[in-house]
């Protein structure tokens, strides 16, 4: 090791250390950069992030229509078996038989929020919602029915 390399080594080292200290120091002297939320106190105005995987929901539009065709791909893909779909035969005006969902059952207590159901749904009927307050007093209430009462399939989803 030559002497010039040795000395430049020291100075480079010191400069890189100072760079690191600048980062932490700048955070320390700017307390408003703190990202922690004081949760129970700010519950009313708490804003969660859009991408948060809080629970799985089935979005309905204003006419109480959803996009689920009852194909059962989400049920097949779910690794924990937390989705169960109950379908029935629907006869349309022109006499065609069609499948429609009766109940889309989602057991949040078994869900690991892996997102496979959302990812594989061919008609994009499922999505994540940022709600995270799931504590309930009985296990039965962890079983949810995602399609709303009296909802029907949106027109044009099924070819």
């Amino acid at each position: 090791m030559n002497i010039i390399g040795y000395i430049t080594d020291i100075f480079k080292g010191v400069i890189s250390l100072l760079k690191g200290m600048k980062v932490t120091g700048s955070y320390f002297f700017r307390p408003w950069t703190v990202v922690t939320q004081k949760y129970p106190e700010n519950r009313k105005k708490l804003e969660m992030y859009e991408r948060m995987k809080g629970e799985i929901v089935m979005p309905h539009n204003a006419k109480n229509e959803h996009k689920c065709t009852g194909c059962g791909i989400c049920e097949l893909n779910c690794p924990n078996g937390s989705i169960e779909i109950i379908t029935f035969q629907l006869v349309s005006e022109d006499g065609k038989k069609k499948r429609a969902i009766d109940k889309h059952i989602y057991r949040i207590g078994m869900c690991t929020f892996c997102g496979l159901c959302v990812k594989t749904c061919p008609s994009k009927a499922l999505s994540f919602a940022p709600n995270f307050e799931h504590a309930v007093f009985s296990r039965e209430r962890l079983t949810k029915i995602l399609n709303k009462e009296g909802s029907v399939l949106e027109k044009g989803v099924e070819g």
């Binding site: 250390l17 932490t24 120091g25 955070y27 320390f28």
Partner: protein
């Protein structure tokens, strides 16, 4: 007026005279030592608890968090709650461990840091023991802590503890050299090892300004080496959580663990206090030679505020290191000491001696 916040000499003299006039010399000495011991014990606990709180708060802010904020205003009583928890916890005895050494180790560590405090001048006249070799005494006593750590590691009958303790031994033996040499650099400038003389010599400018280049290098080296000596991050190999669980205090629980914890924080305080005394003038206010008005204005702030202010600035600096830099490997640690700090330090002592000989310091 006996009690004067600018000069405690008359106050301590008054207590001394009061005790010696009312008691026999033997009992007066005993009472005096007990009083000082009690004051130190109380200060030790309070400063230790506050430092733990401060560390958590500083660390949190550097990581964009809030830190303790539930117990008391701004979480101020969090560490007291922690202490109560530690006091109530079970002291687990380890099978096949060396019971005597296992129980003695935390006390050795804590006694070593206690002995150090005795030599630190907190304010004018507020000084438990003014040794004429104060700097030497502090260096000698502070290296006693490693004996406690080695004993703790050995007696625990645990591989993690033993490896942690051995690393700590290698580390402290190496970095002791740098601490000593950087302090010797300043002793060369001061011409004395007595803390009171060192502080008085800085009445017309702190040593870090007086010795310019050489002092600044010595200060930086002292900060690095003393951080390593107190086993704090980025040199906390002795307890490297990710690889050794907790190093030498893996097997300790309850109040014995608290002793190690407290000793670590007090060692940080002591090291910062020594750095403040030797480099930044201790309790001496900021004086610039020749500016009478400015000096008088600075004298208005009481000395103990100066002392604690400087000490806490240096403690903040050490926390800043800890929460910025990643932990070193053991070979990197030894390379840093033997290939970089030691040669620089030796040259720095020579430069300082040259500066003093030629009278090029202020």
């Amino acid at each position: 007026m006996i009690f004067n916040i600018y000069d405690f000499t008359s106050f301590t003299q008054w207590i001394d005279n009061l005790l010696y006039s009312n008691l026999s010399p033997f009992w007066a000495l005993i009472v005096e030592m007990t009083l000082i011991g009690l004051v130190f014990l109380l200060g030790y606990a309070l400063v230790g608890l506050f430092l733990v709180y401060l560390e958590r708060k500083v660390c949190a802010l550097m990581q964009n968090r809030i830190g303790p904020n539930r117990v008391g205003p701004f979480g101020l009583f969090q560490t007291i709650a922690d202490l109560i928890k530690l006091l109530l916890k079970e002291l687990i005895s380890i099978k096949h461990s060396d019971k005597l050494l296992f129980n003695i180790a935390p006390f050795i560590v804590i006694i070593a840091s206690f002995l150090c405090i005795a030599a630190i001048p907190f304010a004018k006249g507020l000084h438990a023991m003014d040794f004429n070799i104060g700097v030497f005494y502090v260096m000698a006593v502070s290296s006693m802590g490693v004996v406690g750590i080695l004993i703790a590691g050995w007696s625990s009958n645990n591989k993690y503890s033993l490896i942690g303790a051995m690393r700590s031994g290698a580390q402290i033996v190496s970095y002791e050299l740098s601490v000593g040499l950087s302090l010797i650099t300043m002793v060369v400038l001061a011409g004395s090892m007595q803390f009171s003389t060192i502080v008085e010599a800085q009445s017309d400018g702190w040593f870090i300004f007086k010795g310019h280049i050489s002092s600044v290098i010595a200060f930086v080296i002292f900060m690095i080496a003393s951080t390593a000596e107190t086993n704090r991050g980025p040199f906390d190999l002795a307890e490297a959580e990710s690889e050794l669980t907790a190093g030498f205090h893996t097997e300790y629980s309850g109040i014995k663990f608290a002793f190690f914890f407290l000793a670590e924080y007090m060692n940080m305080f002591i090291v910062a206090a020594i750095a403040a005394t030797v480099f930044w003038g201790g309790w001496m206010p900021l004086h610039i030679g020749g500016l009478e008005g400015f000096n008088n204005a600075m004298d208005f702030i009481p000395p103990f505020i100066w002392f604690f202010g400087k000490t806490f600035v240096i403690i903040f600096l050490m926390m800043w290191f800890k929460w910025t830099f990643p932990r070193l490997r053991i070979d990197q640690l030894l390379t840093l000491e033997w290939k970089y700090l030691l040669p620089i330090n030796l040259i720095n002592v020579l430069i300082m001696a040259f500066l003093v000989l030629m009278g090029w310091h202020f």
